[in-house]
């Protein structure tokens, strides 16, 4: 029986070693140098999947970079595509190992304050201040990238979520203009389901904080507000509760969203590459879908059958006529803290984020550039898809999604997704919202739920 004893002991040992090695496998090393010579290559981490038009754009940028900075004419620019769901893992791995990190990384704008406070980004305050185009950036967006007075990233493009729909389907269901109140939104969703049996009217995935906040704000509520330097959560205010209840009821009482989206993000289960509400919309199984204009290339990759009919309108507020404030999403560019060539990296950022290049990029991908000059002038009213989003872009909010502990609140502790999932599964409304409210306030203030 000695064999089995050692087998059991081995079982425990392996279990321990697994956790132990995993936890401890993080030696630290931080190569610090500021070489003045030209780098052989610069690594850029882009988020999402590689799209041909973005590759073409980047090739153009690299050409300009080589021309504008002859000292880097031999520098190779390597773009690595990081799926959004893997970004924090990849950043963490690069930081803990001190190896394999980028020189420049794209960041979601809600990521930047948290990532910067973890020490992942280089302080680029002086570079940004001496950059001629730096002063043209929309000031509020640059403030988002500033932690304790130091600038850690520059805004690259912005985007808002709206509601995608199919113009033909709206016409066939007798909907003459996009809804501007919640009551209209639900009745339109039901009208579409009657006209197209077997489809669902409006997708409401429970793990979709960035859309859920629009409904909280659209009823006049807030996730949390700052008072005397402390966060006060307001998820249980009557207005916030109205928004939360409306979203949950899209599944619970109005049945315009299917059960399978419970526990899913708008792109399906975390880490999955198929089967989300985006795919269902592209296939015509879902009539209305909440997402930003950036979704177009991925939607078209699923099916282009209805692409010519796709259009958008802003997420309505509870009683109209103005849309609900949309979460001001977007991406930033930062210089990685362990980059050997920080000057060269920022020089490349200056080319990527020049007003001309940033505008071309944003326009080609359905984003909005971060320069005040580019947004004014009604450049977007001509496009069916972009006009709705451009309207939504006029009503935006970001707080508290850009607070330092937001990553913990939303990505690690899943406070709003957990709350929404529990509600959709029939949990007691008041108790569930109150619990989420307490957790939210604790995490935003201390970084810990209790």
């Amino acid at each position: 029986m000695t064999f089995t004893r050692s087998a059991a002991a081995l079982g425990v040992a392996v279990a321990l070693a697994g956790t132990a090695a995993g936890i401890a496998g993080c030696g630290s090393s931080s190569p610090s140098s500021s070489a003045s010579s030209a780098p052989a290559k610069l690594v850029v981490w882009r988020m999402g999947g590689s799209v041909p038009s973005q590759v073409t754009w980047m090739n153009g940028v690299v050409g300009q970079f080589h021309k504008q900075y002859p000292q880097y004419s031999k520098t190779k620019v390597v773009v690595d595509w990081i799926p959004w769901g893997n970004r924090t893992t990849d950043w963490t791995n690069a930081l803990t190992s001190g190896k394999g990190g980028p020189d420049i990384t794209e960041l979601g704008n809600t990521d930047t304050p948290g990532v910067a406070s973890q020490g992942a980004l280089a302080n680029i305050t002086s570079s940004v201040h001496s950059w001629s185009n730096g002063s043209q950036i929309i000031p509020g967006n640059l403030a988002n990238d500033t932690v304790n007075g130091k600038v850690y990233a520059v805004p690259w493009f912005g985007g808002v979520r709206g509601i995608w729909y199919n113009k033909n389907q709206f016409a066939a269901a007798g909907i003459t203009s996009p809804p501007t109140t919640w009551a209209q939104l639900v009745s339109d969703a039901k009208a579409l389901m009657r006209k197209y049996p077997g489809t669902y009217g409006l997708g409401a995935p429970s793990d979709y904080t960035n859309a859920i906040v629009s409904f909280i704000w659209g009823a006049g509520g807030q996730v949390a507000v700052q008072q005397n330097g402390k966060w006060v959560a307001e998820l249980n205010s009557p207005q916030s509760q109205a928004g939360i209840k409306f979203y949950a009821d899209l599944y619970l009482t109005n049945h315009v969203s299917p059960a399978k989206y419970i526990g899913e993000t708008e792109l399906g289960t975390v880490g999955a590459t198929s089967g989300g509400s985006n795919e269902d919309f592209a296939l015509g199984k879902l009539d209305m879908y909440i997402d930003g204009p950036w979704a177009q290339s991925q939607l078209a990759a699923v099916s282009t059958k209805n692409e010519s009919q796709w259009a958008s309108f802003p997420i309505p507020s509870e009683n109209g006529p103005n849309p609900a404030p949309a979460f001001a999403g977007g991406s930033d560019l930062g210089v990685w803290v362990n980059s050997t060539y920080k000057t060269a990296a920022f020089d490349l950022i200056k080319v990527m984020d020049s007003p001309a290049n940033a505008t071309t990029f944003a326009n080609s991908q359905g984003f909005f550039p971060e320069f005040t000059s580019a947004l004014s002038g009604g450049a977007y009213s001509g496009s069916a898809i972009m006009s709705g989003f451009a309207k939504a872009a006029a009503y935006t909010q970001i707080s508290p999604l850009n607070s330092k502990n937001w990553a913990t609140a939303d990505a690690t502790d899943n406070i709003i997704p957990d709350m929404m999932k529990a509600l959709m599964q029939g949990a007691n409304f008041t108790a569930t919202v109150n619990k989420a409210n307490t957790e939210m306030q604790n995490v935003l203030n201390t970084g810990s739920e209790s």
Partner: protein, 333 residues
């Protein structure tokens, strides 16, 4: 003078390994007198274990009393001793207790199920003819040999709400048989712990029973045929034969299988990580909870270290129980 002293000391401090040197003999005597030979032979393995196991373990223990995280690695914040803060945070977090409950309930369901199915198949294998027995055990061992990642992905597909075969089949069955649930597009992975762990239990039992069956088969072969024959002649039913003869004789094997299964099933991570995916916190088991706390963003190695220690202690209780039981049975002698 100085030279003679040096030459006098040299042989003692540098034992010569060749020739008729006295140093080598003295070393040998020393080793023999203190019975060091086994330890010397064990030393390489012990050093290896210390490096890859004990040192990380010590580090985990150290982290568990610190606020060690990413900011401490990058150096923007200093690592601080926080006493038992990581442990108190853990014990006051309702999600910790929820995930502990999920892990326990899963083990309580999956372990007996594994042993039951394993026993039935083991008994069957014992009855089968040689060719059939080889065929069945090979088929079963293939399930056992499937890597957990592949098996989990396979089950994820089978139970997928978009075209998975399980939902497809359930939706085509009559309502009186499968209930009124809308099975087409039913999301097993995210609909709640019961649904998710039903799926994972089937997967885990399917992968674990062959080991139980084959181990029991080996045990069954050692039971003298006369015993069961005599019982049958006396008119004992098969159930009575199993309860009175087979089971008592195989009890030590059962104990081992039980404890190994508890350790394995309590520990599952691969299956739940792939099938449940991060984000569905009400479905986390303990290993997923640890993973999320330790490696989520921002990572907290302090909290993860504390959790790893708690987890290890829980498993240690199981192991101690096993060792005690084995000693009492004289199985370890």
């Amino acid at each position: 003078m100085a030279q003679s002293i040096r030459s006098d000391h040299a042989p003692r401090s540098v034992p010569r390994l060749s020739g008729p040197g006295t140093a080598r003999e003295r070393l040998g005597t020393f080793v023999r007198r203190h019975k060091l030979a086994p330890y010397l032979l064990l030393a390489p393995a012990l050093i290896g274990i210390a490096l890859v196991l004990l040192w990380p373990l010590a580090q985990v223990a150290i982290y568990s009393f610190q606020n060690y995280g990413l900011a401490q690695i990058t150096g923007v914040l200093p690592a601080q001793w926080v006493g038992f803060a990581n442990f108190s945070t853990t014990f006051t977090d309702p999600e910790f207790w929820l995930s502990l409950r999920n892990s326990l309930l899963f083990a309580i369901v999956a372990v007996p199920l594994t042993l039951l199915v394993g026993t039935i198949v083991g008994l069957l294998l014992n009855r089968l003819g040689k060719k059939m027995s080889i065929f069945v055990s090979t088929a079963a061992l293939l399930a056992w040999a499937t890597p957990p990642v592949s098996a989990s992905v396979l089950f994820y597909w089978m139970f997928n709400p978009d075209g998975g075969i399980v939902d497809w089949a359930l939706a085509r069955m009559p309502h009186w048989l499968v209930g009124g649930t809308d099975w087409a597009g039913y999301n097993w992975a995210t609909n709640g712990p019961v649904q998710a762990y039903t799926m994972i239990a089937i997967l885990v039992v399917w992968q674990a029973f062959p080991f139980v069956a084959v181990t029991l088969l080996a045990g069954l072969k050692t039971i003298p045929a006369e015993l069961t024959e005599a019982a049958r002649v006396d008119g004992a039913s098969p159930w009575r034969v199993f309860r009175r003869i087979t089971f008592p004789l195989l009890k030590p094997i059962y104990l081992v299988l039980l404890l190994l299964s508890v350790i394995w099933d309590f520990n599952i991570f691969t299956q739940s990580y792939i099938i449940i995916s991060l984000g569905n916190q009400n479905e986390y088991n303990l290993s997923m909870y640890i993973y999320d706390k330790a490696f989520g963003f921002p990572p907290s190695y302090g909290l993860g270290g504390a959790l790893a220690l708690i987890f290890a202690l829980i498993l240690l209780v199981v192991t101690v129980g096993y060792v005690r039981a084995s000693i009492r049975q004289g199985a370890l002698t």
